[in-house]
């Protein structure tokens, strides 16, 4: 086990990359997912169907397949991305679909009467979203979303397969030098665990804070 602890410095850069990619993916997916989620909930058929198809497609294929397609396929159709950005694009596109579904579920669960009341006092569509719908939807949005964030962090491990030196690949490189896989895998597992477990604890705490809103 000392070995594992000694290897920590070598894992540091990998960890940073993992966190960077996770952060980018989460932020991009959140922004795109909220906008598209609102679009799919309130939009007319012209808006609804493309988003719906996109969401169903992304959720129906494995992330691995998408990642390889972006990495190997994009250059072929003219878009040259290095592995880091290919990974970010693929994962963000993938995660956006999940965020769309979470937003859709949260917003649709708000009673129609709330929209009526908002309209009745003269709020515009955007005002209704910001002051009436989102504050109430937040409670139903946050727990599944934080879950999606932990999935994203775990998903970043796949970028090791297209050569991005994240935590996963860093672990493997150290193993390549030391020939002792187990301690290092366990070390990697512990680090991932710490990140994600804290995120889910955060989610549980947030769930409790929002519980004052009556169903």
């Amino acid at each position: 086990m000392e070995l594992a602890l000694n290897s920590l410095p070598f894992l540091w850069d990998g960890l940073m990359t993992t966190l960077q990619v996770s952060f980018l993916v989460v932020v991009l997916a959140l922004a795109a997912g909220v906008v598209l989620g609102v679009g799919v909930t309130y939009g007319t058929a012209v808006v609804y169907w493309p988003i719906r198809l996109y969401s169903d497609f992304m959720r129906g294929i494995p992330i691995l397949v998408l990642m390889f397609f972006v990495y190997y396929g994009f250059p072929v159709i003219g878009l040259n991305l290095d592995s880091f950005w290919a990974a970010v694009v693929a994962m963000a596109a993938f995660k956006t679909a999940h965020v769309i579904e979470i937003v859709r579920g949260a917003v649709q669960s708000i009673a129609i009467g709330q929209t009526d009341a908002g309209k009745a006092i003269g709020l515009t569509f955007v005002q209704r979203l910001v002051y009436v719908i989102f504050p109430q939807a937040a409670r139903r949005f946050l727990p599944p979303w934080i879950n999606a964030v932990t999935e994203a962090v775990k998903g970043t491990s796949l970028i090791s397969l297209i050569g991005v030196v994240d935590l996963m690949l860093a672990v493997q490189k150290v193993i390549g030098r030391t020939y002792e896989p187990m301690p290092l895998y366990i070390m990697g597992a512990i680090i991932y665990f710490l990140i994600n477990y804290n995120l889910s604890s955060l989610s549980r705490m947030l769930e409790r804070r929002f519980s004052y809103i009556r169903e």
Binding site: A111, D116, A120, I121, G122, T124, Y131, Y212, I213, R214
Partner: protein, 268 residues
């Protein structure tokens, strides 16, 4: 504030609406004058709530014209006579001047009573926080809830929530107030406190259109009563004619179903 004119504040001509094959509203013609209280009664599914919700365009209408204070609510007529449905901003502006109180209260659960009243004042009327708070406090005092300013809806009884709903609507200084069966979801002992507030508003000259099942109350405060059935206005007139001394067959049937003990043959 526009100067008081003699024109009816609500003018409806030939209003029609269908849900698929069902004709929900059929050829409604109606004028509502400023400062009056009009009650609308009728069986469920008669179209009375739909009519009310058309006035602030929570429901759209298919045919006819509905004007509030001279402005066509549902669409705009362009130069060459073509109809264009109103955009989000325009509708918001129109709705800001019409107040509505709902059967299910529809208070914003994440805001306190005061904040519920203040939301429209701050975001639509663009008042400062202090101004909005002062107005909210005034109106919540009028409805008798000064001690509940900072309570959340889940801490309030049904009657209290509905009174907040009324304050929220009236604080916007609307030209017209729409009341959609506001006591139907209340326990009987809470109905009185809400009706007391409505009575106060009527006495102060607020124009109101009230959809209700409370016949005694309708008789007391209304200047006119409409009986709607099958999407049409079947009977219209002063309360005495409609509620006390009805001659219309379907109306008599409806009223006796509502109040079986009362003998509608010999009016009080």
């Amino acid at each position: 504030m526009t100067e008081t004119s003699k024109e009816p504040i609500v003018q409806i001509r030939g209003l029609g609406k269908s849900f698929g094959d069902l004709r929900v509203l059929d050829g409604i013609d109606l004028d509502i004058h400023r400062g009056t209280v009009v009650s609308i009664i009728g069986p469920s599914g008669s179209g009375k709530t739909t009519l009310l919700r058309c006035i602030n365009l929570l429901e759209t209408y298919d045919e006819g014209s509905l004007k509030v204070d001279g402005v066509e609510v549902g669409y705009q007529v362009s130069g060459n006579g073509a109809r264009r449905p109103r955009g989000d901003r325009e509708l918001a502006g129109i709705r800001a001047d019409i107040g509505m109180v709902f059967q299910m209260f529809n208070l914003f659960p994440h805001l306190t009573a005061a904040e519920n009243v203040m939301l429209g004042l701050r975001k639509v009327r663009r008042k400062s926080r202090d101004e909005a708070r002062a107005i909210a406090e005034d109106w919540l005092a009028v409805v008798g809830l000064t001690d509940k300013l900072d309570s959340l809806p889940l801490q309030l009884s049904g009657g209290q929530q509905q009174r907040v709903g009324i304050a929220r609507a009236v604080a916007m200084d609307p030209k017209l107030l729409l009341l959609d069966e506001i006591t139907s979801a209340l326990d009987p002992e809470l109905v009185g406190e809400v009706l007391a507030v409505v009575r106060k508003l009527a006495d102060e000259g607020m124009t109101m259109i009230v959809v209700t099942h409370e016949m005694a109350f309708a008789r007391e405060i209304s200047d006119a009563v409409l009986f709607i059935d099958g999407g049409r206005i079947q009977v219209a007139g002063p309360p005495r004619e409609v509620l006390v001394d009805p001659t219309h067959e379907r109306l008599k049937g409806f009223l006796s179903r509502l109040n079986p003990e009362h003998n509608w043959e010999n009016a009080q």
